[in-house]
C-alpha cells in the first residue's frame, strides 16, 4: 500500500463522523473519522490516531475506542480509528493480514488523518498489539507523531501468543455448556486439529512467526517527541518497554492505569467494555501534549 492511497478521500473535511474505506482496491481498511466539534474549529487540538489491538481484544475494545474517539472529538481533537486489513470490516480474510501490512496501514491512516485534519502533527494511541505496531510505524512516517501513547504494549511475543491460545480455550470453556477441554480432543480426532486460531481468528504461519518474534527491540526505532506508556494497574516494576526506551535514550513517561482489564475475555455478546477510569486517564494524557 502506498501513501497516495491515503488521499483517495473526500475532497472536503467532513463535518460529522464519517466511515469510509481507504487504500488500494482489494486491500482497503475501514475507518471512521470524527472531526473536532464545530466550537473548536478556530483552534483545533492535535488529531489523534487510534491503533486498535488484535482479534478478540479488538472486539472487546471496539466500544471503548468509539467512546474515546467521541470524547476526544468533543474536546477538540479530530480522531481516526480504523480496522486493519484482514480485520473487522476491512477487506481481506484473517490469514491475509500480518504485522508488516498493519504497520503500513497505520502509516496510511496517519496520512489520511493529516489530510482530513489539515494538521501535520498527530498523537497516536495504540493498545496492546496496536501499541507495538504503532511504535514500529512511527519510524516509517515522514512526519512522526508528536506523541505516542503505548497502552499495555505487547513486548514478549511468545508470552503473547500463549495468552492468545490460552484465552481461546478459556473463553470456549466458559461459553459452552459442555466441558470444552473434553470436547476439543474429540473434535480434533473426528475432524482434524483445525486451523491455528486465537478466539476464533485464524492465524497465518507468517503472523504466528511475526508475533512470536516480538520483543522489546520492536520499540527501539520509535520516533515521537513524547512517549507515554500506560501499564496495567498492579504492575509495580518498571515496564520492560519503558526500561528499553530509557536505555536507548528516549524520554518515556510511565503511568499506571487505575483498572486492570482482561482484554481477551469473551463473556457473551455484551463483552465490550468502556472503563471510565481508564478513559479519564487517557484524556488527561492527551491534554499534556506539547505543540
Amino acid at each position: 500500500m502506498t501513501p497516495q492511497h491515503a488521499t483517495n478521500l473526500h475532497a472536503s473535511i467532513p463535518e460529522r463522523p464519517t466511515t469510509f474505506r481507504f487504500g488500494p482496491a482489494g486491500q482497503q481498511c475501514c475507518g471512521t473519522f470524527r472531526p473536532a466539534g464545530s466550537q473548536h474549529a478556530a483552534a483545533p487540538k492535535p488529531p489523534v490516531l487510534l491503533c486498535q489491538p488484535y482479534g478478540q481484544e479488538a472486539i472487546r475494545t471496539q466500544r471503548l475506542f468509539r467512546a474515546l474517539g467521541d470524547r476526544l472529538g468533543a474536546k477538540g481533537h479530530p480522531v481516526l480509528r480504523f480496522d486493519y486489513f484482514g480485520t473487522g470490516d476491512a477487506d481481506g480474510d484473517d490469514t491475509d493480514g500480518c504485522m508488516a501490512t498493519w504497520v503500513d496501514n497505520i502509516v496510511m491512516a496517519h496520512e489520511a488523518l493529516q489530510t482530513w485534519s489539515g494538521q501535520s502533527t498527530a498523537i497516536w494511541v495504540g493498545l496492546r498489539l496496536g501499541a507495538t505496531l504503532a511504535a514500529t510505524a512511527s519510524a516509517r512516517t515522514a512526519k512522526p507523531p508528536a506523541k505516542l501513547v503505548l497502552w499495555d504494549p505487547v513486548h514478549d511475543g511468545p508470552s503473547y501468543l500463549q495468552e492468545l491460545f490460552d484465552s481461546s480455550d478459556r473463553n470456549m470453556n466458559d461459553s459452552l455448556a459442555q466441558n470444552w477441554h473434553r470436547v476439543k480432543p474429540v473434535l480434533a480426532r473426528a475432524e482434524g486439529p483445525g486451523p491455528v486460531q486465537a478466539s476464533g481468528f485464524e492465524l497465518s504461519e507468517a503472523l504466528v512467526s511475526e508475533l512470536g518474534a516480538i520483543d522489546v527491540q520492536a520499540f527501539s526505532g520509535v520516533q515521537a517527541r513524547q512517549i507515554t506508556l500506560l501499564k496495567p494497574a498492579a504492575h509495580e516494576a518498571a515496564h520492560p518497554v519503558t526500561t528499553a526506551l530509557l536505555r536507548n535514550g528516549f524520554l518515556c513517561k510511565e503511568v499506571a492505569t487505575t483498572e486492570r482489564i482482561d482484554w481477551a475475555s469473551d463473556e457473551a455478546m455484551g463483552t465490550a467494555i468502556v472503563p471510565t477510569g481508564l478513559m479519564t486517564q487517557l484524556l488527561a494524557e492527551m491534554d499534556s501534549v506539547r505543540a
Binding site: 474505506r21 482489494g26 470490516d89 461459553s175 473434535l187 516480538i214
Partner: protein, 298 residues
C-alpha cells in the same frame, strides 16, 4: 520484525462499499455486491449481535457476507443506531422499535441502491429478536435465519441439564450445589416481584414473548411464505439443550414442525472457534441456497 509488507493479489467474491444511510444519515453499513449475483436475488441483512459491531461476533458477518457472495447473493451488514459506527438517532424511539426502524431503513437503502425487493435476515441472539419483530412488520423480509432465538425450555430441558451436570461434575457435587443454593435462597429471600426462576442463571435480558403469542406469530409468518431457520448453540444449558426441544416445546402447533431447527452442541453462543464458525456458515449457506431455489419465479 520484518516491517516490509507484501500484498498478495486478492480475489474477493464481492465488491464492498461502506457508507452512511438512513433519513438522519446516522447509520453506517457495508454493501457487499456479489460478482456472481443473479437477477432478482434477495439481499441478506446482517447486523449487530448485542453491542458487537457490524463485523459480527468474531467477524462472522464479514465471513458470511463473503461466503454468500460466492453463492451469488448481495448482503448488507450495518450498525443499528448507537452501535458500532452508527450514531444515536434523535427519534426518541424505545430500543426495540428503533432497531426495527433501522432494519427498515437498511432495506430502503439497499432497495434504492440495488433494486432488491426481497430480504433474508440473519440475526444472532438479540439480532434474531429484532429480525423476528421486523418480519412481523415488513413484507420485504421473506426469510429469517435466527441463531439462538427465543428459547422455551421444557421439563425435558431441565432433566437434560441435570444429566449433563451429573456427567460433568459428579452426582455428589450436583446435590451439594443444589442444597447450598436452596439454603441460600431460604436465608436471603428474593426481592418482591422477582420471578420464581430468578435464582437460576438468567436466560438473558431479552423480552421473550409468551409462547402462545410467539407460536401464533410464527404461524402468521409461515402463512405469508416467510422461510424460517432456527439454530441453537451449545451455550444454553439452562434454556436449550437438546435437538428435539423445539418440536417438543411447540407440539401444540404442528405447522411449526416444518420449521428447520438445528441444535449445534459444539458451537458456542459467540461462535468463538473456527470449526464452529465454518459449520454454522455451511448450515446457513445451505439453508439459504435452498430457500432461494424454492422461491417462486418473479
Amino acid at each position: 520484525m520484518n516491517t516490509r509488507s507484501t500484498h498478495p493479489a486478492l480475489s474477493s467474491p464481492c465488491a464492498e462499499h461502506t457508507s452512511s444511510f438512513g433519513q438522519e444519515g446516522n447509520l453506517v453499513g457495508t454493501l457487499s455486491r456479489s460478482h456472481a449475483r443473479g437477477a432478482n436475488a434477495p439481499c441478506v441483512l446482517l447486523f449487530n449481535a448485542g453491542v458487537i459491531g457490524r463485523a459480527g461476533p468474531h467477524r462472522m458477518n464479514v465471513r458470511l457476507a463473503r461466503a454468500l457472495a460466492e453463492d451469488g447473493l448481495d448482503s448488507f451488514r450495518f450498525d443499528l443506531a448507537g452501535l458500532g459506527d452508527s450514531t444515536r438517532s434523535g427519534s426518541g424511539l424505545p430500543y426495540e422499535q428503533q432497531a426495527v426502524h433501522d432494519l427498515r431503513e437498511a432495506m430502503d437503502h439497499v432497495q434504492a441502491q440495488t433494486g432488491a425487493s426481497e430480504f433474508i435476515l440473519i440475526g444472532f441472539c438479540s439480532g434474531a429478536d429484532h429480525g423476528y419483530s421486523a418480519a412481523l412488520q415488513d413484507q420485504r423480509l421473506t426469510a429469517l435465519v435466527m441463531f439462538d432465538p427465543f428459547p422455551y425450555p421444557t421439563f425435558l430441558t431441565h432433566l437434560v441439564r441435570i444429566a449433563v451436570r451429573i456427567q460433568q461434575d459428579g452426582p455428589w457435587n450436583v446435590v451439594q450445589g443444589w442444597v447450598q443454593r436452596r439454603l441460600a435462597r431460604r436465608h436471603t429471600p428474593p426481592p418482591a416481584g422477582t420471578p420464581s426462576g430468578a435464582s437460576k442463571p438468567p436466560v438473558s435480558s431479552r423480552m421473550t414473548p409468551p409462547q402462545d403469542e410467539y407460536a401464533r406469530a410464527l404461524q402468521g409468518l409461515q402463512s405469508r411464505g416467510v422461510g424460517i431457520y432456527m439454530i441453537y448453540s451449545g451455550s444454553g444449558l439452562y434454556w436449550y439443550n437438546h435437538s428435539l426441544q423445539f418440536r417438543l416445546g411447540f407440539w401444540r402447533w404442528p405447522s411449526l414442525w416444518r420449521i428447520q431447527c438445528d441444535y449445534l452442541p459444539t458451537v458456542d453462543h459467540v461462535v468463538g472457534e473456527r470449526r464452529g464458525q465454518e459449520l454454522l456458515i455451511r448450515r446457513m449457506r445451505l439453508w439459504i441456497a435452498n430457500h432461494v431455489a424454492r422461491r417462486p419465479p418473479a
